[in-house]
Symmetry: C2
Subunit: 387 residues, 2 copies
């Protein structure tokens, strides 16, 4: 009787909480693999990553949806850790009770990748160059093996296996998350029922690989980087900040960028002094510095490399690999994307069997970032596709 | 009689030469201004620039067309200096006898800008940080004043004044050349009859200014740059080459870029070694190194600054300045341009009186560079507009 009363009270409080904030409360959990072998044959002992989940796994464990995160992201896809958190997870607009990815129906799970950018965020758990290699008692640094999107997927598979989840109702990911989602459908065609690559592509071409290398350049040129061995001295903050600034700009269409940063015409000093910076540059760098505070420069280099190496199946014929996918697929590029162009989604979709694949574009002023901030524009398509 | 015979022979040889190679032969000339005052009130003594011309100036000097060059360009818009030259000027497809800009009708003239990138090209004459300041006997370095698009225009105006040319049938320029062309029409509305901004804009916004600053970054981060004082030590070649590589990529749409550089999937080393570069990166750098051989790092910084500062009229209201233009105007952006987006041409055109302004897009796979390599796609529109 008391137990029932308490349960009712809890449910009531929980519902009221939802009513009051419309926000899920979530908890970061840790998952460990004692010994993990990478795609290039190296060993990481142990791998430890964070994960979180929203909703409830049903009895036959058939209602799981995996959300794979983007380059600068974490597994915090929805909800808050504390009601006082200033922001929710990045796709809170579409993940939650009654939302497009309905947590009343689905068990939604997300995992921090290896070499996650935000390694110093207290809510992120990852393994990479900045974490301690127990064999030496020191940070891995550049002795950490090159890891790939396929490695990220294998870590997630280990976690799902440990939870007894053998079927995925869907895998959904934005940008670098789309690479992981596609790789899931390629490697495990029998396990993945539905696939949604958002602002995504099944291959990185020379143009994109070089664009990404330009993010790495400021880090590698910073003398404080010390060829990756900076852990005894402090981060190459100048290079890291610049890399984060470039990532920020490349993810934004000019309309959204110009709405946030000062017009060059308002600056007087740059007309007098060749070394005087524009306000827009300084503002961008200041914003990047704040974001870089929880990031690690080497982790950024490893994420760049994992992204550059991506093509479906990780072999020499991504088209052939992609044609093996059995999942029903919905490509959702952003119309104004100048980083992973809609043509990349189109080329990817073109090699999949037409009855399996559909395509819609996300409108907006943010370009690539519309895949995150404007995802509600395609909420209905996502809901329809999942049900 | 002998004189007439010689003249006929010359004309005959000239025509035959044209017939044989279909190529104009042109000659670089030098123009000097003893003392030039810049927009920001500094003095350059002397200014010396190169120029070349195609066709003949008519008796009332009313048939001149000024071609203003792009960032990495020179006044070599058409023809060859020697029949054995490996390439013609950059717009040879539209400038010449019987071509869209018909040198049988028009006197086409082009001028090397101040701080021209290719200062060490024997066919370029320019004044900038790498040239000798007679007052000190040493290169100007960063004591050279910040110069603007309006300064480029004023140098050209001095030259035209010296030739007695007070009317321009048209001013036509691509990219940074479009800034100069627009500035001509804004500053001298009575002198400019027609205006063609190709892959152009009447303003640089925060997004574009920051993109351009990213070209400057590798130069400024190169220790060999020595805050601009490298002339006793040799150029900051690593930074300069990287800047040129970035300019190359930003001017190319992915389709054309990928056709020229190796696919990342063909590289094995980057999957094993985090420091191993992709072939595409190395190829791009090698190509940039070749182009950088005649360029100066500080000149690139000054060209970046001149471009960043540009807005029509150089004041705080480019829209108002542009609305004063009297020239009949034809905007020709490139559909795939990701550097100066077609929307910039559209926004520029929108503030001009509708009967004056027209608009067409250049198709192609090259993006921004379509304004140079694919200009023949709009040759008919240009010819029609000029006649």
């Amino acid at each position: 009787m008391l137990k029932t009363l308490l349960m009712c009270l809890c449910v009531l409080l929980y519902s009221q909480h939802l009513l009051a904030t419309d926000t899920l409360l979530v908890k970061k959990q840790a998952f460990e693999i004692a010994e993990f072998t990478t795609q290039n044959g190296k060993t990481i002992s142990p791998v430890r990553v964070g994960w979180e989940a929203y909703g409830h796994l049903n009895a036959d464990k058939s209602n799981a949806i995996l959300i794979t995160h983007f380059f600068s992201g974490t597994s915090h896809a929805a909800g808050k850790y504390q009601p006082s958190d200033p922001a929710t997870g990045y796709w809170d607009a579409i993940i939650g009770p009654g939302k497009a990815i309905d947590t009343n129906k689905f068990y939604v799970i997300s995992v921090d990748t290896l070499v996650n950018a935000n390694v110093f965020d207290p809510n992120v758990i990852t393994t990479g160059p900045a974490t301690i290699n127990p064999a030496t008692g020191k940070p891995w640094g550049l002795t950490f093996p090159v890891v790939t999107i396929a490695d990220f997927v294998e870590v997630q598979r280990h976690l799902l296996d440990s939870l007894g989840i053998t079927q995925l109702h869907a895998v959904i990911g934005a940008s670098m998350g789309s690479f992981q989602a596609i790789e899931w459908a390629v490697r495990y065609p029998e396990r993945v029922k539905r696939l949604i690559p958002v602002i995504g592509t099944a291959y990185l071409d020379a143009w994109a690989a070089v664009r990404l290398e330009r993010w790495a350049y400021p880090i590698k040129q910073d003398p404080a980087w010390r060829n990756g061995n900076y852990y005894d001295y402090g981060q190459p903050l100048h290079g890291l900040r610049t890399a984060v600034a470039y990532i920020t700009q490349d993810a934004l269409y000019p309309t959204a960028f110009n709405a946030r940063f000062s017009e060059p015409a308002d600056d007087v000093a740059p007309h007098q002094d060749i070394l005087a910076p524009f306000s827009a540059w300084q503002e961008l760098m200041a914003q990047a510095q704040t974001r870089a505070a929880v990031q690690d420069a080497n982790h950024i280099l490893y994420l760049i490399r994992a992204s550059q190496l991506y093509r479906a199946g990780m072999g020499d014929n991504w088209q052939q690999a992609l044609s093996q996918v059995k999942a029903k697929t919905l490509f959702l590029p952003a119309t104004g994307d100048q980083l992973l162009l809609p043509t990349m989604s189109q080329r990817s979709a073109a090699v999949m069997p037409p009855p399996t694949v559909s395509y819609a574009e996300i409108p907006g002023d943010f370009g690539h970032l519309d895949g995150i901030v404007n995802i509600s524009a395609v909420a209905e398509q996502i809901a329809l596709f999942l049900n």
